[in-house]
């Protein structure tokens, strides 16, 4: 069974930046499904890992959410997930605040700039740590490896194999493939994995099925202040 997923490029942590304060739109977060969509700072965060999603958190800006354990209210902007790596939003908002206050109070501007730098440092720590600690793998996991005729197979992403962590949307499937003598189809979507059904037409081993996505194209600009790459479109 094969799986081919549109995915992200992992970032490196020793690069430079020259556009932290740029107003230029950035492309979709890595791992986002579908065509690249334009995002604007203060509305979305750059999330460097597969499955992480950007969430606007009230007026504090955008955060990356690594894992959600609840459903968001329809049309709401809150997130019930685990927040990791405050990125573009808060940093940029603080920087804007610093600029705005510079004309009013030099002391206040210094204070806010310090706060800005602290926030940037916090973002650095939060976003850099997971990159060295985890690998997010795409894998297929049958409910049972030995059986007869029909097999349920989960397609998922996870950093702690074999635990599923990130749901894969059906829209990210580009191809299913089965070896000769078997067939495979999408059975449905659950909270975590995408469920596939492999049907063997004859006894024997089967390397059956796969999911394929078109290659995603990314332009990543290095950003040393947050140890990250930013998608630059």
């Amino acid at each position: 069974m094969g799986l081919n997923l549109r995915s992200e490029v992992q970032y490196t942590s020793d690069m430079l930046t020259d556009d932290l304060n740029s107003e230029a739109p950035i492309a979709a977060p890595i791992g986002a499904a579908g065509p690249t969509r334009p995002l604007v700072r203060d509305q979305d965060a750059f999330c460097p890992f597969e499955g992480w999603t950007s969430r606007q958190l009230w007026d504090f800006g955008a955060f990356c959410v690594a894992k959600t354990w609840g459903r968001e209210p329809s049309g709401g902007t809150g997130s019930f997930g685990l927040l990791v790596g405050a990125t573009n939003g808060p940093v940029h908002l603080l920087h804007r605040a610093a600029n705005a206050r510079a004309g009013q109070s030099e002391l206040g501007a210094i204070f806010v700039k310090l706060a800005f730098r602290a926030a940037a440092f916090a973002g650095l720590v939060l976003t850099a740590w997971p990159s060295a600690a985890m690998a997010h793998d795409f894998f297929l996991l049958p409910g049972q490896f030995r059986g007869a005729g029909s097999f349920e197979v989960h397609a998922t992403v996870g950093a702690a194999f074999p635990a599923p962590e990130t749901a894969i949307g059906q829209d990210r499937i580009g191809e299913l493939r089965a070896s000769e003598g078997a067939s495979i189809a999408v059975a449905g979507q659950s909270d975590q994995p995408l469920r596939l059904t492999l049907t063997a037409a004859r006894p024997g081993p089967h390397v059956a099925g796969g999911v394929a996505f078109s290659p995603v194209r990314l332009n990543m600009k290095a950003n040393p202040s947050r140890s990250s790459w930013k998608n630059t479109k």
Partner: protein, 136 residues
């Protein structure tokens, strides 16, 4: 690239990018698994799908081959993951990997490959592949 072990050429090529460094890349992931219906006897598990990067079961038990564009990828780092553990291994000169699959499993073989662009300003190609199999 911190997360995935790739050949040394790729990080060196990234480091050599002119400042400000912009990494232009295309990325694809592949995953496979092997199941047995009624019996595990047969050769169909050795079929390659033709993915740019993939593991293929070898004819010998516990042996697999890592293929890059249809050719064995020799002396290349791979990861072997099972519940709660992840170890590193290296393919041999013929791209073969002998994995210790004793235990309940499941086991996952994983490899990543990143190719520098053929010409300046081109895109890196990053492929990641996994194969999930049962234990013995």
């Amino acid at each position: 690239m911190e997360e995935y072990e790739v050949s040394a050429e790729a990080p060196q090529a990234v480091a050599a990018l002119p400042a400000p460094r912009v990494l232009r890349a295309s990325s694809e992931r592949f995953a496979k698994t092997i199941v047995c219906s009624e019996t595990c006897a047969g050769a169909s598990a050795t079929q390659a799908f033709g993915y740019p990067l993939e593991f293929v079961a070898d004819t010998s038990a516990n042996q697999f081959r890592l293929m890059l564009n249809g050719r064995p990828l020799a002396n290349y780092p791979v990861a072997i993951a099972t519940t709660g553990a992840r170890t590193s291994a290296t393919t041999d000169a013929e791209g073969r990997l002998t994995a210790n699959l004793d235990g309940e499993g499941p086991f996952m073989l994983f490899a990543a490959h990143m190719s520098p662009p053929a010409e300046a300003g081109g895109r890196f190609a990053m492929w990641l592949t996994s194969l999930t199999v049962s234990g013995h």
